[in-house]
Every structure is written in structure tokens, then in C-alpha cells.
Symmetry: C2
Subunit: 331 residues, 2 copies
């Protein structure tokens, strides 16, 4: 009998920059253990726990966890194979949502496999989340507790906005502005392509089709800066669903510097409304500049995974957003 | 059949500054209706709804809602009489917690009366909340969903701190600093006495025993300013219970100006921790200066009352804090 048996058994799907960071976030936890991970070419599973550093090294050297000895397996159907084989309480879907229907199709795979447990995503686009929202009943019937929009934005910032809104009788405006600094864009290739997809003249398919050289050449023209305005970001639909304001009052934008770890501006959310006395005011939440995108996405994701496990164990299945449920701190 | 029948039927116990503000916050709501209110000398109950302005006027003129025609009743046992008579889904306990055991004794009254529903408090002191926390099992058995610490601090700021903590592997420090500006302290006599009770050389009993003239004379010496440091504030125990950090890492202080509506400083909470990469950073949440104490206490209190009603209707009874449950925006 090992201590691992009392821990929440976690899987991570996708092992790019975000998946690798997620594994590192989990490494020191007493309440969770990483037992499974998959990428596009294979997966690794060890019920006694996977080593984040070794997994990261294998992925960076050989491009798939399938090469991990002795617990890796190469597969063209890695997610399917893993979820049938592994005993996992909850998966963090650290997958790039390219194409835009990908996350919903993964959720469908879990349903079709008869899998039960908790799924957490850090989806960004409103249109992608709408597809997942349509699966609410199917997820509930399947006995899956699905937590959507549980990264930084949507996620951490959306949840803070939902709480901040409580001071007001009516919400006029919720504006999220993020700053991201990445020293080396190649560690976040999928994330950067998702950002490019938001720019005028681009879309998800076009960004996905860009070669690394094309991305590089594009970033040369902007000196590595991507400025994003009025993005299609699911914070809007989450806050509308939570009854806080209509989605057109929620705006998301930001600046990504792909050549400096230092953030070009401090990520913040401003919640402006009218109080019951008729005063207009703005609450503001600002993230510390030293916190990375990885910390602000993976930390909340596992906080919501733990909250999801509580819901699941009480028989509460279906779909929940980060604006509805309080995340639980993972030790 | 009236529209009132689809609304959450709310009662407010205590009709000082906070209770009157609570009634005004409820007035424009479509999802909630104020049907009951009690003070130390009487109560008012109308299943079709009480008028906040008329109730406020009666209380200010005659010192009790018992004089309200035709729905008021004078009583030396106003809470007891009201809860036996009124059909209420949830009560906001807008009572001054003087003596320090008062809120727990009110909760006990509800249990003893066999009442079922939702109770929400905006308790401040750790020692007072500890008494309520001891009643967890009794509340659960009684079929009461009790939401504790659901004002501004504890409450709104504690909940934001619980979310902000998610970015970090370990929390070093959570510091809440509030600024309160009150144009006329006499509208918040009980609240000001609670603040004075936190000062060196005072305690709850001593502050309670002060006459209005003595409070006035005390405030003359400080030019109306009350500076509070390292207060006994239940944010600490709530964040400890939520598993975020030990209570000694939570600090609450502030400045109250009893002679100016303008806040002497912007109320804020700072959450400092270490990320999984080993970086130390601070997230900060700041309330808009134009939001009053009343807005920041009553708004969240009803947000938690609505969340409490959801829990209650799913059969989830017992005790919950503002750091565990996401408040629901009330339209």
C-alpha cells in the first residue's frame, strides 16, 4: 500500500509547453499525483506516478512520451488507448484546440468510451466553448463532471470578475487585459498559433497551417509582439451564463511579447458597475508580473480539478464553468 | 398568483445601517423579495413584500419596525416570533455581534425552532466564527444551510484571495487593508462600536457599554479616525479551512474615517506566494473607492444567499464559508 493511493490520480492530455508545466506543477503536490500523460504520438502511464522531469526530457528529445521506458507506448490513437487503460480520477486537457472543434471531439471520445470522472479544460475561444456547452446533457448522462474555461483567462480572472461583480446592482463593463512574456516562442508553439489566429486576416485554420518558419518570419515583422484586441474569448459567455452581464459587456485583449520573459504589461481585470446607491465604480484585480502564464493557467486548472472531484464524488455530473465553482487549493 | 411567488423570499435580521442598506439593495431585484425584517423591539412581515423606504423611515422615526402598519408587531422576542410566523427562504443576519456570542445564539434559536432554510452572516471576528463553526453538525442535522463570513471582509475579499492563491504553489502572506469612510457615524453605531472593540485597551464588552456621548468623545480625540492593525478577523480561519495557508499568514487591518464619506485609502487584498518555478510574486485586488461598505457587504451577502439556496435545494446542509462557495449574482 502506498501513499499514492490516497491521492487524486491525474492525467494530462497534451505535452507541449502547457502539459509539461502542468506536470511540474503537480510534482510537489501531496494531494495529487500525475499517473498518465498523452501526446499526439503516444502516451505514458504509471499508477505509481510519472516523473515530470524525465517525461519533459523524453518529449523534448524524441517528440513523444511513447518512448518513455518502461511505461511509454507509441500509438496513433493515444488518447483513446490511454483512457481505456489508465485508472485516472481526472484529466487536464492541455491540448491546443486546433482545429476549433478538437476539444469537443476529445470530450466525445471520453463519453463514447464510457469513461467516468472529471475533465478540465483551459479553452479560450467562445465558439469552442459553445460546442462543449452543447454537450452538457450528454456529459451528465455519461457521469462525467466537466469543468470548462479553467485556466487564467478564461479561468482565474473570470472567477475573480464573478466575485467582484457582487458589489454592484448592475455591471456595465468587464475588461480583461493580459500581458504575456515568453523568452522563447518555440516552447509554446501551439499557444502562439492560437494567438495569431485571433489577429485580423487570420483564422484558426490559417494559423494552424503556418510552418515554424512562417511564424518566425511573421514575428520578425512585429518585433516579436502580438497585440490582440476584442478577442473572441469565452470569458464573455461564462459571465453571461453566470447571470452577471450580457456577453457584449465583456472585452478581452492583450499584448504578447514572444521575445522577452518580462510581461509587456500587468495582466488585469476591471469590473465596472453601478452600486445600489447609484455610484459608478471599478474594482480591479492585477496579477503579479513574476507569475508566468504557466503558473496562472495550471494552478487554477488543478484547483478546479480538485473542486470537480468533490462535485463528482457527490454525484454532481455535467458541465460547470470557472465562474460558477470555487476552485480548491491543492497542497 | 403573483410574481412574488417565484422569487427567493428573504428576511433581514437587524435593521440598523446594514439592515436598512440590505433592504435597499433588495428593492430593485427580480429574483429576491424582502418579506420579513426584525429589530430588537419588533418585526415586520408581509408575504407580498416590504417597502425598503417605508421600513427605513419607520425605524428611524420610531426605533422599531414593530410600528409599521399593518404588518408590524412589537415584541421582546422579535426574532423568535418572526421565524415562527414568516415563510422565508433565507435570512441575512445583519445583526451587530455584541456580545461576541450573539450570532451563534441566534443560529441556535433557528435550530431550536425547527426552522429550515438558508442563513447568511457577515461576521467579522475569528472567535465569533469559531462558535458558529462548532455548530456545523447541528446545522446539518437541522436542515439549515448556513453561509458564514459573507460580507466584504470576511467575504468578497476572502473569496478573491482564495482564487488568487491558485497561481501559487505556496502562500506566504495574505494582507487585507481596508479603508472605510462614513459621513455620519451615528448611522453605523453598532459597526463603529465593533471597530472600537478591536483597538488596544478595548474589548467587545467595553465597546458595547460605551454611550453615544462616550463614542463621540473618543472620536473627537482621534479626529474621527480609527486605525486598526492586526485585527482579529475571520478571514484567517476561513482561508485556513479552505486549505490555502495557516491562519498566521493572514493579516487584516484598516483605517476608518468616521467624518468623511471619502475612503482614507483604497480597500485591497494582496496575495503573495511562490510559484512552481520558484518565483515570488503578489496578486492584488482593489475595490473602487466609490463603492460603499454597504454595497460591498450587502451585495456579496445576497450573492451567497442565492448560492446557499442552490445548495439547500440540492439537499446540501451544514456550514459553508465565503472562501469555499462561489456567490451567485442576484438580478
Amino acid at each position: 500500500m502506498t501513499a499514492a493511493q490516497n491521492k487524486i490520480k491525474v492525467g494530462v492530455l497534451g505535452f507541449g509547453g502547457l502539459g509539461q508545466a502542468a506536470a511540474k506543477v503537480l510534482a510537489p503536490k501531496q494531494e495529487m499525483i500525475l499517473v498518465a500523460a498523452a501526446d499526439h504520438k503516444g502516451y505514458a502511464y504509471d499508477r505509481l506516478g510519472l516523473d515530470a522531469d524525465i517525461c519533459g526530457k523524453i518529449y523534448q528529445e524524441k517528440d513523444s512520451l511513447g518512448y518513455l521506458e518502461p511505461h511509454g507506448m507509441l500509438s496513433n490513437n493515444s488518447i483513446q488507448d490511454l483512457l481505456e487503460k489508465a485508472d485516472v480520477d481526472g484529466y487536464f486537457l492541455a491540448l491546443p484546440n486546433l482545429p476549433n472543434t478538437f476539444m469537443a471531439s476529445v470530450a466525445q471520445q471520453f463519453i463514447d468510451a464510457g469513461w467516468r470522472g472529471v475533465l478540465v479544460d483551459a479553452l479560450k475561444r467562445t465558439s469552442a466553448m459553445e460546442q462543449v456547452l452543447e454537450m452538457r446533457e450528454a456529459l451528465q448522462k455519461a457521469g462525467i463532471t466537466y469543468m470548462t474555461g479553467c485556466g487564467a483567462t478564461p479561468g482565474l480572472l473570470t472567477a475573480v470578475a464573478a466575485i467582484a461583480a457582487q458589489s454592484y446592482a448592475e455591471i456595465h463593463d468587464i475588461t480583461i487585459t493580459f500581458g504575456v512574456g515568453i523568452a522563447n516562442w518555440e516552447a509554446y508553439r501551439a499557444t502562439i498559433r492560437e494567438d495569431i489566429a485571433h489577429l485580423p486576416g487570420f483564422d484558426v485554420e490559417k494559423a494552424r497551417a503556418m510552418s515554424d518558419a512562417e511564424v518566425e518570419s511573421f514575428l520578425d515583422k512585429t518585433e516579436g509582439i502580438i497585440t490582440l484586441e476584442k478577442m473572441e474569448h469565452a470569458d464573455d459567455i461564462m459571465l453571461e451564463l453566470a447571470g452577471i452581464c450580457s456577453r457584449d459587456r465583456v472585452t478581452v485583449g492583450g499584448v504578447v511579447d514572444t521575445r522577452n520573459a518580462k510581461k509587456p504589461l500587468s495582466t488585469n481585470v476591471k469590473v465596472t458597475g453601478r452600486t445600489f446607491e447609484g455610484k459608478t465604480s471599478t474594482h480591479r484585480f492585477t496579477l503579479g508580473d513574476e507569475t508566468s502564464m504557466a503558473a496562472n493557467v495550471c494552478g487554477p486548472a488543478f484547483g478546479y480539478l480538485k473542486a470537480g472531484v468533490s462535485l463528482y464524488r457527490r454525484g454532481l455530473y455535467g458541465l460547470f464553468t470557472a465562474a460558477e465553482i470555487m476552485p480548491q487549493f491543492v497542497k
